[in-house]
């Protein structure tokens, strides 16, 4: 029960992030105002923290870190910081945060205001990459509607970092604020608060913030009515690849991944699913029933952290697609750590040779060794993602691996890709 329950409108029925009105008036009519504290309302923070804790909300930006713990770390760092709405969405196959910022900007901003009130932050900063003008326009329009109203007790502003894969990694984003360069930092202690200069920064993914805003309105139970006990709620997933209707869907955590893929109507029986984006993992048909949930996906080498499912049709070569992904990830390295700078191109080269049937005798052993050597040795998890997707390809496309390694390439090796890659080259963007 909210301490100002008389002011808030109970939201009943099915919990969902998408499908509510976009403009402020419609947003308030449908969902009511966010239960922000009125003045220095006593007991509000304790109430809010208990609701967030009880919800069990885990971050939807990649790492799946509990939102309540992240809030506690930011609060302990002291007041005067900023809540950063991470709308960077650097994964080329992800659209969920763009969609959310366009369709439900007030929900996302409400979530940021709630976390600002609970952490003692004095501003909200929305990060939208350069070039995504339609997203930026939607956010600016929403901010203009809220400015100087009770819905925006702390000021909201927008910043426009360059559009790079790595730019949304939270330490890279914090570094961009300080230095203008999106470089991840080496943080052996992830439990310490991020800082921008001397101020604390609570960085949360746009979808996570939308959940915060919904959960604060509905209470934890409606959120927990979806998903699993250990991994509750709903998730936005972008589905692409060999499907009739690519796009973003909202699914309950725990939904079998093949049912998630089926929401986009695959063009034929999938050869494999890429779950978790370009640093995620291929999952083969024998594991299509795996629940879309952190622990279950981890058990098959994938991740629910990044809401991406890509359907691979049977008419393309999974190894060739993997080579394209690892090349892309190698090009997107921030260029700071040796194992990433030298290891990813070497791994990409090995996978390409394998896919094209140009494997030398020692290739598989060398590739395995390189994967083991690179894993866990970057400041951020970028190289680990490349290792993860390459390893999953060796496992899921094992039959292809042996054929290709013996010099017999599959008939599909030179087909065009079913994956999405940015059309702007890295050289042009930097």
């Amino acid at each position: 029960m909210s301490p100002n329950a008389s002011e808030t409108m109970p939201v009943t029925g099915r919990y969902r992030l998408l499908g509510h009105p976009t403009d402020l008036e419609g947003h308030l009519t449908a969902l009511g105002p966010a239960p922000l504290p009125s003045g220095r309302q006593r007991g509000w923070r304790e109430w809010f923290v208990s609701v967030l804790e009880a919800s069990g909300l885990a971050g939807r930006g990649g790492a799946g870190f509990p939102a309540a713990i992240k809030l506690a770390v930011a609060h302990a760092a002291g007041p005067g910081g900023t809540v950063v709405v991470n709308g960077m969405e650097g994964e080329p196959a992800s659209d969920k945060d763009k969609l959310l910022l366009i369709r439900a900007p007030h929900l996302v901003l409400d979530g940021a205001q709630l976390l600002a009130a609970a952490s003692g932050a004095r501003s909200v900063t929305v990060a939208v990459p350069q070039g995504r003008e339609h997203v930026a326009a939607a956010v600016l329009a929403a901010m203009a509607e809220r400015a100087r109203t009770v819905h925006a007790p702390v000021p909201e502003e927008m910043v426009r970092p360059p559009d790079r894969f790595i730019a949304g990694e939270e330490s890279a984003l914090a570094a961009w604020f300080e230095t203008g360069r999106s470089l991840p930092s080496f943080r052996p202690d992830k439990g310490t608060a991020l800082r921008i200069g001397r101020k604390g920064a609570l960085v949360q993914n746009a979808e996570t913030l939308a959940h915060v805003a919904m959960i604060a309105r509905t209470g934890p139970d409606l959120f927990r009515a979806h998903g699993l006990v250990e991994d509750p709620g709903t998730s936005l997933v972008t589905i692409s690849g060999s499907v009739e209707h690519p796009g973003v869907v909202e699914v309950d955590r725990g939904t079998p991944i093949i049912d998630v893929a089926n929401r986009a109507t695959p063009l034929g029986p999938p050869q494999a699913l890429l779950v978790g984006g370009y640093g995620g993992a291929w999952v083969g048909p024998d594991q299509f029933a795996t629940p879309y949930a952190s622990l279950s996906l981890r058990a098959v080498g994938a991740t629910a952290g990044v809401g991406i499912v890509i359907v691979l049709g049977r008419d393309v070569c999974g190894l060739m697609e993997t080579a394209r992904i690892v090349h892309y990830l190698a090009g997107q390295s921030a260029g700071q750590c040796g194992p990433c700078v030298y290891g990813l191109p070497a791994i990409a080269d090995d996978v390409t040779r394998l896919a094209r049937g140009h494997a030398d005798h020692g290739l598989l052993a060398r590739l395995e060794r390189r994967l083991a050597q690179v894993e866990g040795r970057g400041a951020c998890r970028h190289p680990d993602g490349a290792v993860n997707v390459a390893r999953s390809a060796l496992r899921v496309f094992a039959d292809d691996v042996h054929q290709h390694a013996a010099g017999t390439v599959c008939q599909h090796w030179n087909r065009g890709t079913q994956l999405r890659f940015p059309t702007v080259l890295r050289a042009a963007a930097s």
Binding site: L183, S185, F186, P188, G338, P339, Y342, G343, A379
Partner: protein, 70 residues
């Protein structure tokens, strides 16, 4: 009290002195960057590890003390 070697991969520029001083705990990958075995450092290597940290031209090595055995 156990000690673990921590290498900052951003700072490290593959000089390789550490692996030469401490081959028992640090090896180099094929590009010359140090890999730590991740185990607790044997007590008799502590002094050499301190020297490796001090002598690193990039100051990329820290020794982290941990109470308990992990």
């Amino acid at each position: 009290m156990t000690v673990r070697i921590l290498i900052d991969p951003v700072a490290c520029d593959a000089y390789g002195y550490c692996a030469e001083l401490l081959p028992e705990a640090i090896s180099l990958d094929e590009w010359g960057y140090p890999m730590v075995d991740g185990k607790a450092l044997p007590a008799d290597l502590l002094e050499i590890a301190k020297r490796a940290a001090r002598d690193c031209p990039r100051r990329a090595i820290t020794l982290r003390e941990r109470k308990g055995g992990h």
